[in-house]
Amino acid sequence: MFNPTTDIIRPINELVNVHFNRDWCVELAARSSRNGPWDQWELARLGVEAMESRLVHSFDQLQCLPHLPHLTPMPHQIDTARRVLYEMRGRAILADEVGLGKTIEAGLILKEYIIRGLVRKVLILVPASLVLQWVRELNQKFGIQATAQKKEYMWTQVDIVIASMDTAKRDPHRSIVLSQEYDMLIIDEAHKLKNSKTSNYIFVNQIRKKYCLLLTATPVQNDLGELYNLITMLKPGQLGGQGQFQADYVVDKRVPKNEVLLQQELSKVMIRNRRSDGGIEFTRRHVRNIPLSLSAEEQALYQGVTDFVKGRYRDAGSDAGSMLSMVTLQREVCSSRDAVFLTLVNLFKKTPEDSPYRPQIWELVNLIKQITANTKAEKAMELILSLGPKEKVIVFTEYRATQEYLMKFFKDHGLAAVSYRGGMNRGKKDWMMDIFRNRAQIMIATEAGGEGINLQFCHNMINFDLPWNPMRVEQRIGRVHRLGQQSDVFIYNLCTLGTIEEHIVSLLHEKINMFELVIGDLDTILERMEEQSTLESRLQKIILESQNDDEIREHLHSIGTAFHDTRSRIQPPPVFSEVEREVHP
């Protein structure tokens, strides 16, 4: 007997079944027997026209581009999307270098599957600080209605949910997530899944998914075992079993063998685009050092602090270990009296009451009181004014006290500034960014890390003082000089002459030439250089131990030389050269 409520599934040939959905027969029969309600002919015609306009006629032609009026992807991004869709079949590791637009690639792939009706339910796990940014990008650039997970019901009732890994893996969320099937799972910062013993890894491995994208800028290329874990999560067995993998491909955890074969296997699941040197997608960087001389009072304080630090070092029997942090005092004087004041007060409190250092510290505090103006702040303001009121400027400082001083200083001089620091919660950070974008000319930031800030709308950056860790300098630059920056980027380094700052600026700018370095090279170089101790602590040691400026200069010169040697020695491990492709737009 014919039963219209039962769908029919019949084989068409030996390869496929055809499945006839019959819901419509039931509804049509019901409306016929009730004589209505009937729909409008014009709307039905429009409905068919709409469907025809979106009909996907071909398996292998990219559909998503005409659907994206607000986006012009770059060639390498489109190419990556194609390879993931048609070669990797929706399970891939996207390992582009920072700033090449992995989010765009993931968005293209997701959009394509949505248009084809292959993906509806999506889970996107990203670091907490990136949740809103992902929501924004997918909504604004891709017209994908993604929602930040805020309430428990959203897991089940919202199709495209963005959440942080830490939230998702905790109960009650965990059990809800694991009880569902996701057409697509996207994980940003996937290098955090490199260890198969961690709760993150076990959790993600249990999520039921059809397609899966793992995004990482750090493709764990130093450790083959970690790479193995990541790939196994995506496609178990792609590199064989653990034992077989060890036997076939690994000499030492960082040294591969059978590279050609390993390359082939890797390129089936992983795409890594690299920025070509001087690729036109990046605007130019202009770096200028702004030398300035401290006022007599500031110079006196700097001298006082320097003598104090040297004295303590001598008293400690030239044992640098415990004294390294004392160098901070010198650096702080170069930033603002407020910064050094705070540290001195804390030092004073920690010093025993009968210690001979107490009066010395007090003397320094007295020197601070002599200072009435901040030469550097004035120079910074002069610079900002010379750029004009329309130019947004981000000012970076290492010290919270300097940040607060500058906030007040700019306010007193009628300049609109907002602050930004690591301790702020996510909402406040976003808020500060919004104010900077829409209303304030200046942002004063103490933190450049935390992938959350993108300031492509600003192309002037003032380093009020410089971190001694080159990676942190790199992060600062990365906030403004990234994909989407339309203008050349101007970087100003304020540099107090006759201080240790002068040495550091010269090391970073002239010797290491880091302001012109290609992002991505730096971490590899530093990793090699810092096998024994960090560059930062080596610098502190040099400053502490050197008797005079010439000696400092000599030491820094040798660091610069070592940097260049390391750089020229570094070649990417041969195993990755096939997978990596330079981006030539």
Binding site: F2, P4, I8, R10, L15, V16, N17, V18, H19, N21, R22, W24, C25, E27, L28, R31, W38, D39, Q40, W41, L43, R45, L46, G47, V48, E49, A50, M51, L55, V56, S58, F59, D60, P66, H67, P69, Y86, R89, R116, L118, V131, L132, Q133, W134, G143, T147, A148, R208, K210, Y211, P236, G237, G241, G243, G427, D430, W431, D434, R437, N438
Partner: protein, 318 residues
């Protein structure tokens, strides 16, 4: 759809849903939505349930839908420099300002600002293929044009003459066919079946668009079906099946190859693992293996799925 077709679609949708067109221009349209269109497009279900429960007078939203943003740009103020400091001749209506982006408390919380339904505010939006608003119109047209009953209108001379017309009823169905593996291709098959003879006609939608159809049942109308809905459905499906059998299935073959490749790979991976595991770990690993097998099938299994996008009774003059 090109921009001209988008505009055509949008205008026809607004008219079909009884929207009040305030101003029409080649580059844009200013419109006050009808309650029906407001429910389709603004996502204010809470507001509408409030209106319906309290019987309050509904206030629908107004939009400026822009089709050609280039020529919609406000003209440059003339004689710049001379008018400086003077008030512009025509003050821009405050309502016309588009919503400022990136500056609301909602956006800081949710990442994006859902449209704020503000009374009397004119929201300006560019409508293009792929834009959210057009997608909503697409969805609304589809949802509200699913089941039809239409009668062909007699030529005017014959109308009212008391002559009764005999009609033949056709069942028209627009089938969307999806060829699916890890990729998908689609086809539209518009079929009509004559309910008295069982004759089946292709491109039925297009044929119907050429006729004058009305939802009103004419007086003295006699309708007589010979075959049942059940039979009609079976015959349509059988017909479609014969058509589909002629399609190229190389894609299905390669999908099956990919699938068996994957299955082989995980079989050897988990096979090795499972033999070397202790009993308590085995269970979880076995579950993982099963999960992965299901995922592979889910991803690659080639199949053809047929859904009716819309359907209806078409009573055509003999």
């Amino acid at each position: 759809m090109n921009q001209e077709q988008v505009k055509d679609f949008c205008m026809r949708y607004l008219i079909a849903t009884d929207c009040h067109i305030l101003e029409k221009d080649p580059a844009y349209v200013k419109v006050k939505l009808s309650p029906e269109a407001d429910k389709d497009l603004t996502g204010r279900s809470y507001y509408w349930s409030f209106v319906e429960r309290t019987g309050a007078e509904p206030e629908t939203m107004s939009f400026i839908f822009v089709f050609d943003p280039e020529s919609r740009k406000p003209p440059e103020p003339q004689g710049r420099g001379t008018t400086q400091g003077r008030a512009p001749l025509v003050a821009p209506a405050p309502n016309d300002e588009p919503l400022k982006k990136g500056d609301s408390i909602l956006e800081r919380y949710f990442g994006i600002t859902p449209m704020i339904p503000q009374q009397g505010r004119m929201i300006e939006e560019t409508i293009s293929f792929g834009s959210r608003r057009l997608d909503q119109m697409f969805a609304a047209a589809h949802a509200k044009g699913s089941y039809l009953q239409l009668f062909e209108e007699a030529p005017p001379v014959q109308r009212g003459s008391g002559i009764s017309h005999s009609y033949t009823t056709w069942l028209g169905v627009n089938f969307k066919v999806e060829f699916t593996c890890d990729m998908r291709r689609e086809e539209l098959h518009s079929l009509g079946i004559c309910m008295s003879t069982g004759e089946i006609v292709a491109n039925f939608q297009q044929l119907m668009c050429e006729r004058v159809l009305s939802p009103r049942m004419p007086a003295h109308c006699q309708l007589r079906d010979v075959i049942s809905l059940e039979t009609a459905v079976q015959q349509l499906e059988a017909h479609l099946e014969r058509v589909l059998a002629q399609a190229d299935y190389a894609w299905a073959l390669s999908a099956r190859e990919r699938m068996s490749e994957e299955v082989t790979r995980i079989h050897s991976y988990y096979g090795d693992l499972l033999t070397n595991l202790a009993a308590e770990q085995k269970e979880e690993m076995q579950a993982q293996y099963t999960r992965r097998q299901q995922e592979i099938e889910w991803q690659y299994q080639p199949r053809v799925e047929v859904h009716a996008m819309n359907c209806g009774w078409f009573h055509l003059l003999d």
